[in-house]
């Protein structure tokens, strides 16, 4: 079409529009006049005349769009009109609004958690320049290994990328005096720790650099919580002295309420700190031979230095240290991790997967609403055609429909945000302890902006296609065909089919993800922990060195305590271990089997070291596989014997009989000539020390006298509820030493449940989202088939009249549903194959492309979809041919 004809066409249309306007007005006036003549009141006469035109406005609209006031006026009118249309179809409106509220609400809820966990500013000065510095060994998988003090000192003097570095290691100490003895978690830190983070105490001067000098380190900063609970928020606390492990310490400050420093990797207590104390390195900390790796290190980048520059320089320093101390630093490198990544690290994959899942739910919800709008648009086709015929532009019509969509989205979004506030609190209540580490999720501006964004996007997303199709329908066709079989009707049918296929596909992806998580959870709880977790109580006792300074004192204390607890009625047996299983901690070191060649320390086989008390294996119910258990004598004094687990024998002895072999365990010293080798006297079953999802590690067990810890976990096997025995056990403890607190009291079943909590929680949430997706998709395909049955009533009536059987009709209708379902499942399986890889870090014991899961969810989705189709199909078989033929 040439430009001239086009302009001519435009001019002609403008003239036609004007004519139509005039014409219709004259029609209205004539009708009103006749009505008046028939005896109506003028008001009534006009109103009746208007009414016969339906709700279409007849006033000229194009000219109004020229100026802004007119535009606003139009918008307000569109809004009122949209509101009227929604109120007129309450069923449609309620379904659409609820669907959207569900989608937007779920998204906002998950986003608010992400906002708090991943995006919220950390309570430190300039947190983006803070990094964690770890050691990492190319032979072992842990990228966040704790740091050795001598290496820390070398890093500190050799690097030029950090403006400052600080170390942290935590321990449990006994706080005594003023009230019940209490075990507190104390972080021993560099004196520069607080200034590095840029945090000032709310009261008191805090640490000075002088506190890092020998003889000046007897000061502490209290956490806000401890200050409030233990010291009743005493405003004059600064300068007062407290007793820590029997030593006086001066309080020099109280940390801000929101301040905490808890890095799970590398924490020795797995607990949040209640107190900080500066620590001065003793001479032994300067010698690689005398001290292992146990500290965490935080550093602040020089202004302008980047994370990767720091990594490159630290790599260089590490490789020099590797050459200088090959025995100690062989295979050891450095890993620099931004603090934010460190903190959110293990939550990140789960949160991102959940966020993806809710985004899918929102997409499905949008497809549903869009589909509903398309169905409704078809029945409003005549209205739109008339509006077009009497001069409304396409843009005008599209705008009108988009306004309706946006209004729907806004109402849905409003309800959704309310749902989200409620939902996040439910989410937090349902989330396991220590998982999210949030008491409340704030609805800040960012969350609100997200909700508004999601709402508008959803409105445009589901409103666009229906408006576009309606605005581009051809009037003449519409009027000729009465809205059926026209090209826009075909386009609508295609769009709705596509929506249903997309919905089924999206739902299948979610179901697959959820199915995989369920499968891996089932695998996980099916893992035998290697010991009996039922009726097993554990708590921790830390003996202050001031009072129990020698090994015989500790030995005697624990022996007596275990004897006393064993005799309590209801206790079947009692024992102890340095780090009980499932608590997330363990000690590990290199072991040299004397029958094998001596390697550099860093190349030696690595084993966990379990230091255990009498009756340990019987109390834990760990089976003996070969040899014998520790004798009473070996449990009373150092006899240089050890028991290994099956994993140790399998990994390091390769079928050689372990019994009688000698092993040098590098625990008390790193110098071979200082180590008295232990004889292997038995082999026991494997225990999952670090959780069910971690494979059992090679372990050597020592009787307590071989390595005396001042802090041990007591294990009590009871006949009945273990929690009921806590007070009896405490009673025995208090009788022996009223100053000793019991810490980390838990049952093994509880620890087991905690270790599964994250998997369970992620599985639960994804399961809920998948169920919602399935439901929405089912509603989607139900709606489509029901609509098409209504549309085909006449055709079905004729078929039945011509002798089609119930079976034939059923096949006809279900056939349509089946085709869509198969297509949806195919699309979904392909999408899922691409997307489930993102889940792989959350899976255990099941492949991301597990065929059983894929087949299972495909069948489930297929059945649900067909069930949703069956309802309208059954209705189709009951079509009365007489009624159907009279239908149009």
């Amino acid at each position: 079409m040439s430009l001239i004809t086009r302009i001519k066409g435009m001019l002609r249309r403008a003239r036609l529009d004007h004519d139509l306007d005039e014409e219709l007005r004259s029609h209205l006036e004539m009708r009103a006049a006749d009505n008046l003549a028939a005896g109506m009141s003028p008001e009534q006469a006009r109103h009746e005349a208007q009414k016969r035109f339906g709700n279409t406005t007849l006033l000229k609209e194009d000219t109004r769009e020229m100026d802004i006031v007119g535009w606003l006026d139009e918008a307000a009118r569109d809004f009122r009109h949209a509101l009227r249309m929604l109120l007129r179809n309450p069923g449609f409106t309620v379904v659409a609004v609820l669907t959207l509220a569900l989608g937007i609400g779920a998204n906002t809820a998950i986003f608010s958690v992400i906002n708090s966990v991943l995006l919220h500013p950390l309570p430190y000065h300039d947190p983006d320049n803070l990094v964690m510095v770890w050691e990492s060994n190319s032979q072992h998988p842990n990228p966040h290994n704790t740091v050795s003090p001598p290496n820390f000192l070398d890093w500190q003097t050799r690097n030029t990328v950090f403006s400052s570095m600080a170390f942290i290691f935590d321990e449990r100490d006994n706080l005594t005096g003023n009230g019940q003895p209490q075990e507190v978690v104390v972080q021993d830190v560099s004196a520069s720790f607080f200034s590095l983070l840029g945090v000032d105490p709310i009261i008191g001067p805090g640490f000075t650099l002088e506190n890092g000098q020998p003889g000046h380190a007897n000061v502490v900063i209290l956490s806000y919580g401890l200050w409030k609970e233990r010291f009743a928020g005493d405003p004059a606390i600064v300068g007062k002295s407290i007793l820590l492990n029997g030593h006086p310490q001066t309080v020099v400050g109280v940390a801000p309420q929101n301040f905490q420093w808890f890095i799970k990797d590398g924490s020795l207590t797995s607990a949040k700190p209640q107190m900080w104390s500066p620590f001065v390195f003793p001479q032994s900390f300067h010698d690689h031979k005398q001290i292992g790796r146990f500290m965490t290190v935080v550093a602040r980048l020089h202004p302008g230095a980047t994370h990767s520059q720091a990594q490159i320089q630290m790599n260089a320093i590490a490789s020099r240290l590797e050459q200088e101390y090959p025995d100690f630093n062989g295979h050891w490198g450095v890993n620099v991790v931004p603090l934010r990544q460190q903190i959110s690290g293990d939550l990140r994959p789960a949160l991102l997967v959940l966020f993806g899942a809710v985004a899918f739910v929102l997409l499905i919800a949008c497809a549903n609403v869009s589909s509903l709008l398309l169905a409704r648009a078809a029945s409003r086709e005549r209205e739109m055609a008339i509006r077009t015929a009497i001069g409304a532009s396409r843009w005008r019509i599209a705008r009108q429909l988009l306004m309706e969509s946006l209004l729907l989205a806004l109402i849905g979004g409003g309800i959704g945000v309310a749902l989200a506030v409620w939902g996040t609190n439910a989410l937090l209540a349902a989330s396991p302890r220590n998982l999210l580490d949030l008491r409340s999720v704030s609805m800040d501006l960012r969350v609100l902006a997200f909700a508004v964004g999601a709402t508008l996007l959803a409105g445009l997303l589901f409103g666009f296609l229906p408006s576009y199709i309606s605005a581009h329908s051809r009037i003449s066709e519409t009027l000729k065909e009465g809205g059926r079989g026209s090209s826009s009707a075909n386009r609508r049918a295609f769009a709705r089919n596509a929506f249903v296929v997309a919905q089924l596909g999206l739902a299948l992806v979610l179901l697959t993800g959820s199915g995989l998580l369920i499968r891996s959870f089932v695998r996980l709880i099916g893992v035998d922990p290697g010991f009996d977790t039922g009726h097993l109580l554990t708590f921790k006792i830390a003996l202050p060195r001031s009072k129990y300074g020698t090994d015989p004192l500790c030995l005697a204390f624990f022996r007596q305590l275990l004897d006393r607890i064993s005799t309590v009625p209801g206790v079947r047996s009692a024992s102890m271990e340095n780090y009980p299983p499932l608590a997330g901690l363990g000690a590990a070191t290199g072991v040299h089997l004397l029958s094998q060649p001596l390697l550099a320390l860093s190349d030696l086989p690595v084993a966990n070291v379990g230091v255990v008390g009498p009756d340990y294996f019987a109390t834990m119910n760990i089976p003996l596989r070969a040899g014998r258990l520790f004798s009473a004598q070996e449990l009373a004094e150092e006899k240089h014997v050890t028991i290994i687990n099956q994993a140790f024998a399998d990994k390091y002895l390769h079928g050689v009989n372990p019994l009688g072999q000698k092993a040098a365990i590098y625990m008390k010293s790193f110098a071979e000539n200082e180590i008295q080798p232990s004889e292997i006297i038995g082999v026991v079953g494997d225990v999952h020390q670090m959780g069910l999802d971690a494979a059992p590690e090679p372990t050597v067990y020592w009787p307590y006298p071989e390595l005396v810890y001042s802090s041990m976990s007591i294990l009590v096997r009871t006949s009945n509820d273990p929690v009921a025995m806590v007070s009896a056990a405490r009673n025995e403890l208090q009788q022996m030493d009223p100053e000793l607190p019991m810490a980390a009291v838990a049952t093994m079943d509880q620890l087991l449940a905690d270790s599964l909590s994250r998997s369970r929680f992620t599985m639960l949430l994804l399961g809920i989202f998948a169920a919602v997706a399935l439901m929405l998709a089912a509603v989607g395909i139900y709606g489509l088939i029901a609509y098409s049955v209504t549309q085909r009533t006449q055709e079905l009536g004729i078929r039945i009249a011509l002798g089609a059987q119930r079976r034939d009709v059923l096949r006809l209708v279900l056939g349509q549903g089946t085709r869509l379902t198969l297509l949806g499942v195919t699309v979904g399986v392909l999408a899922a194959l691409g997307l489930v890889r993102l889940l792989s870090t959350l899976l255990f014991g099941v492949s991301a492309t597990d065929p059983l899961t894929f087949a299972g969810v495909a069948v489930l989705l297929g059945l649900v979809a067909l069930a949703a189709c069956y309802l309208p199909a059954r209705r189709a078989t009951r079509v009365d041919p007489i009624v159907a033929l009279r239908y149009e």
């Binding site: 014409e23 219709l24 004259s26 004539m30 016969r52 035109f53 209205e383 015929a389």
Partner: protein, 110 residues
């Protein structure tokens, strides 16, 4: 889809309008009145159907339109049947007879 109540059988609107205009030029309102009156109030033309139909017929060249003054002195758009429209009318009348006869046969037979 809700069925518009009291609407004309599809396709018959054009026939009725053409037939009405065969008597002479008339405006839209007059057409509705005429059909309603002659059919003794059984057939009622909805404005929503009429104007789009007239518009289409004008585009198809079956009718032409011009502005005039109505019997009670109002400006109104008068539609006039064209030669093409007359041919169409004959065609549609023939179709209609065929249809009614066919229906009558069925009714008599049954």
């Amino acid at each position: 889809m809700r069925k518009p109540k009291n609407d004309l059988l599809q396709g018959t609107l054009a026939l009725l309008v053409l037939k009405t205009l065969a008597r002479g030029p008339l405006h839209g309102y007059g057409i509705t009145l005429h059909i309603q009156m002659v059919s003794k109030d059984i057939l009622r033309v909805e404005e929503g159907s009429l104007y789009p139909a007239l518009h289409r017929m004008e585009q198809d060249g079956w009718v032409s339109a011009e502005w005039g003054i109505s019997e009670n002195n109002r400006r109104a758009r008068y539609y006039r049947l064209s030669a093409k429209g007359r041919k169409q009318l004959a065609e549609e009348e023939k179709n209609w007879e065929r249809l009614t006869q066919a229906v009558a046969h069925v009714l008599q037979f049954a």
